[in-house]
Symmetry: C2
Subunit: 357 residues, 2 copies
């Protein structure tokens, strides 16, 4: 039986990447020198970390002001560290309520002592089926920066290229579920955060891309392990980094580059999402509630219109080898996550199943 | 050519554990359901995390007051989070200067705003070739807790069972390079920290064992992602954890249990270390500077007495397949790290090489 994993992350990896990870371990079964065992101070690991940074610079056309660092603790830890580092003049962060992870970022910033955070706009009343416009005239004297959730994994929305105004204040972009899949110009941001377990590797690593010129203005009254400057200065080797997750990301970046880069990932993602959205929009049994212009190409949210039927469908789909299409806990409905590791055949199989259900 | 990796961590894994990791990936090459790809909310991963906690409880005979949580960011991040959570009454931490990682813990605690940390004793003047006694009568009205580095990876010393007084204040034990190898009763501590890349798995995971009764007194004025209580309440699933490192640790814990538990690991470690120390003590070419009672069984520090010769020897050893015996940068000399993944044959090969050099 063919099977496909539509989980929102961790998520499916390309088979060839998995094979490369197996090969690495198999090649070093006898010599204690596999990527799981070598020192993070070894020449070969330092080369790997440099190569991985270079791949990221090249794939995302980063200008020279950007540093690329590798951290752990997940994006939620970044939701606390970002205001701790940067909300120090106005002590206030502007945010946009586009859903669950925007809410989490707000909460985490509000929990930082002496920091405030507030939503400038929200589409909560529309159950997040559309995105708030990003305001173009934010009062930059009032906020240290604007935090944006670019792709909303739970609600299935995304700020696509073309939906961004010119910014008059620093912008921190949480791109955890779209970096490396959707082609969005990063040079407009001061900082980009992305954990790797969706489009760029496995769980346990967060890529942070940030402007060195901005980090110069950051808080120095923090333990150095919590300062971004420490990671820039040490080339992400202030202490033992998550070695195997970095290796998996390097293999995933190679795969993206060998397959045409982010532009081609974006093209394939649109093809996958379009196939599913077209089917849902044409169907009388299903509906995709999100406004067409705001729909995510990574996370396709849909429903039969009946909670019990949605649960039954997700459970039957899993039995048919189509895993993890249940919607986010507390949000309900159905969701198919279609990241870089998902071949078009997976979407075809899902559409076939949904048609026959 | 046989080869052995004496790196201080990440370090050699038992071959059978590596084979199991390969098997897991190979078994799921086609179905998108490998441990690298499944959701951290899936039943199978939740079972894995529970099973791993149970293994730790069993292997270390933990009493019921202890919680076991899985975090990332390394031990250095814990050096900041521990005082942020617990140095809130006296705002002062007692420490013992046993070397490099004690120093790092002190620095990180001092960098936490409003927290002080100080060494009660130091053997710096003896170049850390012996350990300070742990004082038995610390003024518990003056300090929130005592932080101890149990095994000093750089200097090759360890507080063995029998070297601990009865404590009259909470003790946080950094056991990164000895947990799971040396048999030390954990029930005397309030908190034990150990990253897994030495004796318990691979890089990217830190195990924290801590008393629920103590966590109740912790700081609530921190972002919840920085509070230990959050990890206890969410069963370490507040956000995506480092899934594959947890899997590797579960396999390593199984291996320890199948091979006789921590008592047997301790026995094997003593055998390995004794073989090398005996050779060094008998030799006229080498010396092991650490006081015999304080010697680590995980990290054997030695020297030819000549810096250039030490470097030459480390480089020739690597060419002969005996990797990473160079001492810590800045500390100098030679060091062979002998963790759970190192078979006695590795030490025999090293002794043979050292004898012939």
């Amino acid at each position: 039986m063919e099977s496909y994993n539509f989980a929102p992350g961790p998520a499916a990896l390309p088979q060839v990447v998995k094979q490369e990870l197996i090969n690495e371990l198999s090649d070093h079964l006898d010599d204690q020198l596999s990527i799981l065992e070598i020192s993070h101070r070894s020449d070969s690991f330092v080369s790997l970390i440099n190569k991985t940074q270079d791949s990221i610079r090249r794939l995302f056309n980063l200008d020279d002001d950007f540093a690329v660092i590798f951290v752990s603790g997940g994006t939620t830890m970044q939701f606390a560290l970002t205001p701790m580092n940067f909300a120090i003049q106005q002590k206030k962060v502007a945010m946009i309520d586009s859903g669950q992870f925007a809410k989490r970022a707000l909460t985490m910033a509000q929990e930082v002592p002496h920091v405030q955070a507030e939503f400038l706009d929200s589409t909560k009343d529309d159950h997040y089926t559309r995105l708030p416009l990003i305001p173009s005239n934010i009062n930059s004297d009032q906020y240290d920066y604007l935090h944006l959730t670019i792709n909303n994994t739970v609600e299935g929305t995304c700020y696509h290229e073309g939906m961004y105004p010119d910014f008059n204040l620093p912008v921190v972009a949480d791109m955890t579920s779209c970096l490396g899949e959707e082609n969005i110009d990063l040079n407009r941001f001061q900082m980009v955060i992305s954990s790797t377990q969706k489009n760029l590797g496995i769980a346990g690593l967060t890529i942070v891309i940030l402007r060195k010129s901005w980090v110069k203005s950051a808080n120095l009254e923090l333990p150095t392990i919590m300062q971004y400057q420490t990671f820039i200065d040490s080339n992400s080797l202030v202490n033992t980094p998550p070695v195997f997750p970095i290796f998996a990301t390097s293999k995933m970046l190679d795969w993206i580059e060998n397959n045409g880069g982010v532009a081609e990932m974006d093209h394939r993602a649109r093809e996958r999402a379009q196939l599913l959205y077209d089917f849902l929009d044409d169907s009388k049994k299903y509906s995709a509630p999100v406004k067409i212009s705001d729909r995510s190409i990574a996370n396709v949210v849909f429903t039969t219109g009946d909670d019990q039927k949605d649960l039954d469908l997700a459970s039957r789909a899993a039995k048919a080898g189509l895993y993890s299409i249940k919607g986010y806990r507390g949000f309900g409905g159905l969701r198919a996550s279609l990241y870089n590791g998902m071949p078009i055949e997976g979407v075809q199989a899902l559409v076939k199943f949904l048609g026959e259900y």
